[in-house]
């Protein structure tokens, strides 16, 4: 039947290609870079900085390359730069004062992310801190949960 045609099985090719690529690249890389030195923290941070620098350069290069390679229209029409609004003339201002109802989320976020900042140092040394640390953090989390429950009771997350 016409709706059930068979002409090529490409899943076979797909599987072969992916497997081949991984194996080839992997074995080459693991033999080439088989040495490393134990880093001091300073070295590690500098390395991370160097890495970020490279990523910035690469990101910048792409844009600069695009600037040179791009095509330009011979005539610029004012319509071209008009913000897209489904093909209609944009109505009213875009950046107005309005009510996205997301500020509750922001408040929640502040609540929990600050908490996360406090918890991370503890998380590393949880075993050394022992039961005392557990009680401290537990009470902290308890207070947090009370706040969370209060927010829920106030229906802070139902903005419809």
């Amino acid at each position: 039947m016409a709706y059930d045609r068979k002409h090529t099985d490409k899943s076979q090719d797909l599987r072969k290609i992916t497997a081949g690529l991984t194996l080839l690249g992997g074995s080459w890389a693991s033999t080439a870079w088989a040495q490393t030195a134990q880093d001091t923290p300073a070295q590690a941070w500098l390395a991370a900085l160097g890495f970020s620098l490279v990523s910035l350069v690469i990101a910048g290069t792409l844009l600069v390359a695009a600037r040179f390679l791009r095509v330009r229209a011979r005539q610029d029409s004012p319509l071209k730069t008009r913000p897209y609004e489904c093909g209609e003339e944009p109505l009213g201002e875009t950046r107005i004062q309005f009510h996205p109802r997301y500020y509750v989320v922001a408040l929640f976020f502040v609540l929990f992310d600050v908490e996360a900042a406090f918890l991370f140092p503890w998380a590393v040394v949880v075993k050394r801190m022992g039961g005392a640390g557990l009680v401290m953090v537990g009470s902290f989390l308890g207070i947090l949960l009370l706040g969370w429950l209060y927010a829920l009771r106030k229906e802070a997350l139902r903005w419809q």
Binding site: A2, Y3, D4, R5, K6, H7, T8, D9, K10, S11
Partner: protein, 208 residues
């Protein structure tokens, strides 16, 4: 949570579908098999002697809902093959850019002269390429496979079965009493389904 189980079920569905072969047909390399009646472009035909079938009766030009057919009628002259006086085309244009492929021109043709082809590809880089002139239409007769439908076949198919005859499309010949198709009798006598040639004459007489 229902979300998790439902999502897993949906993931199973897509996994199952991954095993099915692709239904895509990579078009230029591979052309889909078309049905016998598949209709697209047009062709004008010759009869077995090599004479043009079209008698320039203007029936197709008149029936065309989007008015894409333009015909120029040559003066009547005697046919070199049969010796009868008949009409001839001087020019014929079919503008595919506005054609809606309704097949009415095929149906009204008294001599089965115009038919449709089964090949939809009418490639071209110009709008001109989409305008089928008489030369192109006559070239299509052999260049492209033709569809099943011609005027006489269409008319035969639509005719109420007065006599029990084998219709091409039936799984079983209509051996049952034809009285079942009662509506056929209520039909007024205006356009009694006649033989193609008779209709041709009738239409040709009406033409100016």
């Amino acid at each position: 949570m229902g979300y998790l189980t439902d999502s897993l079920r949906a993931l199973g569905t897509t996994l199952r579908n991954m095993r099915r072969p692709a239904t895509t047909i990579p078009f230029p390399q591979q052309i889909r098999e078309r049905e016998e009646r598949f209709r697209t472009s047009f062709a004008l035909l010759h009869d077995e002697n090599g004479e043009e079938l079209c008698v320039a009766c203007l029936a197709c030009e008149r029936i065309c809902p989007s008015e894409v057919i333009k015909m120029k009628v040559a003066p009547k002259r005697e046919s070199p093959f049969s010796g009868k006086r008949r009409g001839y085309l001087e020019d014929f244009t079919l503008d595919l850019t506005a054609c809606i492929y309704c097949e009415l021109c095929v149906q009204v043709c008294p001599t089965d002269a115009i038919v449709m082809t089964r090949v939809p590809e009418v490639p071209g880089f110009d709008r001109e390429d989409l305008v089928l002139t008489m030369d192109k239409l006559y070239a299509n007769e052999h260049a492209k496979p033709l569809t099943w439908a011609t005027a006489s076949k269409l008319n035969e198919m639509q005719e109420p079965p007065k006599v029990a005859k084998v219709e091409p499309a039936k799984t079983e010949p209509a051996k049952t009493e034809p009285a079942k198709s009662a509506p056929a009798k209520t039909e007024p006598a205006a356009a009694e389904p006649a033989k193609p040639a008779a209709v041709a004459e009738a239409v040709a007489q009406e033409a100016p």
